[in-house]
Symmetry: none
Subunit: 402 residues, 2 copies
């Protein structure tokens, strides 16, 4: 549905919506474990919630498509993941709380090691320390001299990763990566992908050449590789789209960054699960939408740590009564995508969802897992349809048409 | 699917399709009642039909979107509810059987009371009687003098509601409402939303000014408030789109109006359920598509009358054998949207559907209710996809592609 049409149906309300997002929660069966991570986990509170809710499966982006964290989260927040496909540079920048403007073109920097012939011999510069990273960023920032009209900002992220921001009028993001993606060859030339980006490509060539000189005396981080150029554009906020004052509770910078892009207020002082659930209760009076992000399910999945992922699910289950005690009008528990421990990576599999409200149709699903939720009232639906459903169950949408 | 493509696949036939539409039939559980209205109703005939049919859930317009009667019915007839989002004025006019032309711009009139400073003090003029309404419409009609090129028609609806029709060449519907939607302030100025509508806006301003003078001596209905301006456009008929001679059997004017917009023949002499089912039998030889509309399920739902809605469902169930005795080739039983008694209003919830034909895949569903039909062969599908399915089961579509 056209988001503007949806916005036109908004009606003011005081209802509260909570999204608990277990990153990568979906899985597939591992035979030796007797099921998927969710099937094996003991989670009485989540199962009881499923029993009184509408359940179903979320298709993150499109059948067979494995999403990154950007598209899968945008979809959950109701933003078309194809339209709002965000560059890696932007994601890194927002992830370190860097305040981007609409005059910025951003790219991710990987510090690398090149040999005296200019061939890349280590694409990660031996994973230099955060301290070295910060020192090198300051060194570049202090010595670079590009055009007078364009500001250059170099911000460290961690290890060998940093962010390049070019700020000025008329810059374009259509620039090819310079990262050759393998070792033994030279970095690629910065090339404009469209004629309108030629000016920006010239600047980037100048940036690369100067950086190489400035870093020539470094033993490891003596070169920059650039990826994911993109021009920053302003996103419609959740306030504008849905009339919601939204709070993001996320321990990991990237998810805070995505939240900030859609206009959420972002708490930066949380790190443990206990912190996150406490923050939800502490701020419950002050907002009407809450995004509580749990990273560990995804991390354990990527590590192939089936039991570890099960343990995280069981830990979240123990916090659920605290959430229900707040009596949110709409409570959604789901993930952004699947990260089956069996695959040690994100995957395309649909993942289960619980949607609770006093206005939900209660279906026969009694367990929160990939197989049980197949029979749910929500069916299998694209993640991007979740926000309209949540708003409806929160009684925040009026009738369409006479 | 593109409706023109569908039309290109039509093949002539003598098969007959019956749609029994229980308005607002879908519900959600009321705990104290032990289920939804459909789950609680004793309906052996509907359940037996479900047992030998394909079942599923209809999504009226889009997930989370609560439709009005216009969009939800257009969708059932296979007309995109976003493309054919009809203005309130048009719906009112067609609802009173007023024959619109393509030269007409229509708006709904609410007679209101203003004080001597021109502030609205009662937006419904104390809900004047139908008789007063008719008298005031005649009074306006007799005294108004607008442009020589434009005909003005004022038609009473009921209580404080009437319809304004401006008929002439080049009129536009892009005019803002003058109804301020609250009391204590003056009516809004009629404003053109696009430059091309300036001429029509001038006419509307003149109409409002003259009306105010003509009604000055009325104690209650001394002002007109206008809403839902729209230009009438011709809709492709079901005959053109589907090759069907369609008959509408509906007791309520608005549904007769919608049926007329899509080119159905409309019976106006029915009022009770008994009338409606008798009319179906009486005219069964003469048409090949039948829309039988039952309003009472929606009315009871809007009243919050769970038991009353159950009783209507049970009454319809008793008529079902009469319908099956006619041996329609395709028999669909469903609704246009949900109106849960628990919510006392239309809602966004998907609603169950039975599609019977000798060519349907029989699924395991044995009961006609929201929860049982989740497991049906039709899955959850947008209402707008129902007509192609009905045509297919009636063997009225040929193969697509070689």
């Amino acid at each position: 549905m056209d988001p503007n049409l949806l916005t036109g149906l908004l009606t003011p309300g005081t209802s509260k919506i909570v999204f608990i997002i277990l990153d990568g929660v979906g899985g597939i069966q591992m035979e030796e474990k007797g099921g998927t991570e969710l099937q094996v986990a003991r989670k009485p509170n989540l199962d009881q919630l499923a029993e009184v809710s509408s359940c179903g499966l979320l298709e993150p982006v499109s059948p067979g498509i494995t999403p990154g964290s950007g598209p899968s989260h945008f979809a959950i927040f109701g933003y078309d993941p194809f339209q709002f496909n965000i560059g890696r540079g932007i994601l890194e920048a927002t992830g370190i709380d860097f305040p981007l403007t609409e005059r910025d073109v951003v790219a991710r920097i990987n510090y690398a090691t090149i040999d005296k012939n200019g061939k890349v011999i280590d694409r990660r510069a031996g994973r230099i320390s955060n301290e070295t990273n910060e020192r090198i960023c300051r060194k570049l920032q202090g010595s670079l001299r590009l055009s007078r009209e364009v500001e250059v900002i170099i911000e460290p992220v961690r290890e060998h990763r940093a962010v390049l921001v070019l700020r000025g009028e008329g810059l374009r993001g259509e620039i090819e990566d310079t990262d050759p993606e393998r070792e033994g060859i030279s970095p690629l030339e910065p090339k404009a992908l469209i004629p309108e980006a030629e000016g920006t490509a010239d600047l980037v060539r100048d940036f690369v050449a100067q950086s190489r000189k400035i870093l020539a005396d470094e033993s490891r981080a003596n070169m920059v590789l650039l990826r994911g150029f993109a021009k920053h554009t302003r996103y419609p906020s959740m306030k504008e789209r849905y009339g919601l004052n939204a709070l993001a509770i996320a321990a990991y910078p990237m998810y805070r960054g995505i939240s900030r892009l859609v206009g959420m207020t972002v708490l930066s002082s949380v790190s443990t699960l206990a912190d996150e659930f406490k923050a939800l209760a502490d701020h419950f009076a002050d907002y009407d939408f809450f995004f509580l992000h749990i990273k560990q399910t995804d991390s354990r999945g990527e590590d192939g740590n089936f039991d570890g992922k099960v343990a995280v699910i069981e830990e979240v289950d123990r916090y659920l009564p605290q959430v229900r005690a707040l009596k949110p009008d709409v409570l959604v528990v789901t993930g952004d995508h699947s990260t089956p421990a069996k695959m040690r990576s994100h995957s395309w599999h649909p993942l289960p969802i619980i949607l609770y409200s006093q206005y939900c149709l209660v279906d026969p699903v009694k367990k929160f897992d990939e197989v049980s939720c197949i029979g749910g009232a929500l069916g299998k639906m694209p993640s991007v349809q979740l926000m309209p459903l949540a708003l409806a169950h929160a009684r925040r949408l009026t009738k369409f048409g006479a």
